[in-house]
Amino acid sequence: MLNYTIKRIALAFLILIVVMLGMFGMVFLVPGDPASVALGPRASPELKALLIERMGLDQPLLTQIIKFFRNAATGDLGIDVWSKRPVLDVIMEVFPNTLLLGLVSIGWALIAGIGLGCVAVVYRGTYLDRVLGVLSVSMIAVPSFVIALYSLLIFSVWLGWLPAIGSGEAGDFWSQLRAIILPAFAIGITWVGYLSRLVRASMLELIDAEHIRTARAYGLPERVVVLRYALRVAIIPTIAIIAVGLGGILSSAIFVESVFSRPGIGTLMTSAVQKRNYPVVMGTVLFMTAFYLLVVTLADILIARLDPRVRDVLRG
């Protein structure tokens, strides 16, 4: 187990290093000098000079790479060329918003998805089960930002029930709650589809599972059979899909946050790309990649704790 944990963490770091090298190298792979590439053709000479100095672009390549890694390791992701503030500060200012949005989205999706999955299992093989199946696939298929636009039109513009923009007044719980409903709805709906299908499939598999039959055949009470024997097996794929789903939620958040002009990683990133604010783009990508790797690695280790079969293979 410990062996597996160390290997898994080492792999995460290795991947992060490859990603950093990729991000670093990207600017150099494109023809033209890095500062112009990073800032765009319309940037003023002063801005360019500032960037060259900040990023140490006038130094040898190897020095730059070492400096880049050393800085990143100490949390220095560079300086926002527009606001002149450290990139990490800019990110940390909006990251909690996106994290909250992601958690609320996956939270309601879990409740609804598990509920629908259970309904499908209870009514398996019936017309209702088939309708739910088609509904789940449709929920997975529809782009979240279209849901966001439609719900914005209906609930904010036409009905006026919920705010159309922003994340609510700071410190006002109800205002923040009202502001998060529509974005969380738009992001979560895809996951309702995924989770209901997953729950249905894994529960059906368990109903027929031989080892559940064994537990019953040896007279274990239903409570022990369900809580100790069934749930332990059923929970594993759910953890896996939620961790991987975080990546999906991030990409939905980019679009949905823009639709609702909600401050967060998505809106930060979009405006940085539009303004070609390369330090912010690069810093955000690194930050989010590290965050994503952290969650996936933790989930993998948790899964390996719960499922001994995974431990034997590093990339199960």
């Binding site: 792999l11 290795l14 991947i15 490859v18 990603v19 990729g22 991000m23 990207m26 600017v27 494109v30 590439v37 990073a38 765009g40 088609v134 696939v137 449709s138 997975i140 298929a141 529809v142 782009p143 930002f145 279209v146 636009l149 439609y150 914005l152 039109l153 513009v157 036409w158 990546g247 999906g248 991030l250 990409s251 980019i254 679009f255 823009s258 639709v259 990133m269 979009t270 940085a272 790309v273 539009q274 070609r276 390369y278 783009v281 690069m282 955000t284 990508v285 989010m288 990649t289 994503y292 790797l293 996936v296 990339r315």
Partner: protein
Amino acid sequence: MSCVDESPARAPGLIRKLARDPVGLAGLILVLGFLSMAVFAPYLAPYDPIKIDVLNKFQPPSPAHPAGTDQLGRDTLSRIIFGARTALTIALVSTGLAGVFGLLLGMIAGFGPRLLDNFLVLVFDAFSSLPMIMFALAVITVLGPGTNTLIFVILIVSIPGYARLIRAQTLSLKNSDFIMAERTMGASHIRIILWHVLPNVVGPLVIVLSMDIPVVIMLEAGLSYLNLGVRPPTPSWGNILYDGYTSLRFAPTMVIVAGIPLVLSTIGFTFLGERLRDALDPKIQIRGLR
């Protein structure tokens, strides 16, 4: 690992099988509908999609403009019809190219020397564990938005997944009995790859590609909505949605009508892809683009 034998002789039977199931039939009809919309766009569209007519801007739906006009007086219906062409061209070209590159890289990793395989797997893993959208946005920052950038981005983010799939398939085939038998009989590498491995790995790849087409359509529309994808004035569903968003309060028609083809096409391709997978190989592990 089971492999799909996708001989052309089975294709008509496959279509009949898809058409018997209501979900498969719906997918088939929607996909064929959007494909013909894309192909016959110039004949179907009542107006030139980029012709500006400022006098008639923000028209509500009328017999002359069934879906109204936008802020520059362009006919929304014509823009939506040509948008199908944009969306499908990008989706088909990029997934097709990504499939070819993924196939090549995957087979190189599967058949190449051990060290190269390890290196490629690390690179594939690194790319697959990136949040795709983050990476896409970084590339767009460097290259600037546009159709070519979009296709390039989709290639970069989707090739590693396909290459992993192909590698896994190749490895399991490489150790299978019939390849071993071929090898002991002295068959060349090239013969083994072309005659035995390729036909067996193409099937699963086609399924994964078809399941990723709706994701690419979504991505194109999403990035174009953020003004980071297809450049105006080229009509794209995402651009139309953005134009509609800016005038949501007084001209909601644009958002409403531009969302419909996006929803229907992603649903259509997803339905078709799902049923295609079920019909060809229910056991294959799909690790899609998301």
